[in-house]
Subunit: 110 residues, 2 copies
Amino acid sequence: MMLEQAARQLEALGNPTRLSIYRILVRAGAEGVPVGHIQEKLGIPASTLSHHCKRLIHTGLVSQERHGTTLICRTVYPAMEALLGFLSDECCVDGSLPPGVAMPQTLQDA
Amino acid sequence: MMLEQAARQLEALGNPTRLSIYRILVRAGAEGVPVGHIQEKLGIPASTLSHHCKRLIHTGLVSQERHGTTLICRTVYPAMEALLGFLSDECCVDGSLPPGVAMPQTLQDA
DNA sequence: AAGAAATTTCGAAGAATGTCGAAATAGGGC
DNA sequence: GCCCTATTTCGACATTCTTCGAAATTTCTT
């Protein structure tokens, strides 16, 4: 059930705070970002941040590495690529639309 | 805040049942799929399915069209592309990894 | 207009989330 | 060993999900 895994990761990203964290990490690249820096940028309590980080880590989208007293978070790119791949393959997109698709209609809300 | 919108859509996809629904719709293409057919495939109560469909529709990822007594659901491809675009741009991936990324490490769990 | 078919809306109940402060842990430096 | 910094863990509480049956709605058919 690859779908279960994908759902867990999508759910993890489906929270404004966690998506913000993830974006910060992706943009930081291989260097990674100390938890403390993320906290400064987001301005949220450490306990809340820690909770969200744990959730991201648990799904395999993010990894952590200790450097002295600071914990550095990093995007796990293969995981991200796998997720995007799932959405593109299992669910298509990438230009090769599924059989019968005729360049769809627009719609924006929420 | 494009991020808010993306988070809402990711959250919508971050549920196994809804991701299954979405996958069925994407694979069906422009034809779309009647709610009843989705119910048969998933084998869940109509009220539950209706609830999940509403959620997907509310985020703009899915649209509905009436055909007599049946309601046909369809993927809103532009929305999907926008979401994938957000993940690829705001968060990169597509080969053009962010500054400093050196082809990452592996990691799978959860 | 009556009846049947396809879905949605309406509660309700239990499970899972999101947040936050206080207290506990891990690592380094003196 | 003690203190300081960086984070996590531990409740706790309010909010939002998830599910489902029963009843209401919409539309077509006769």
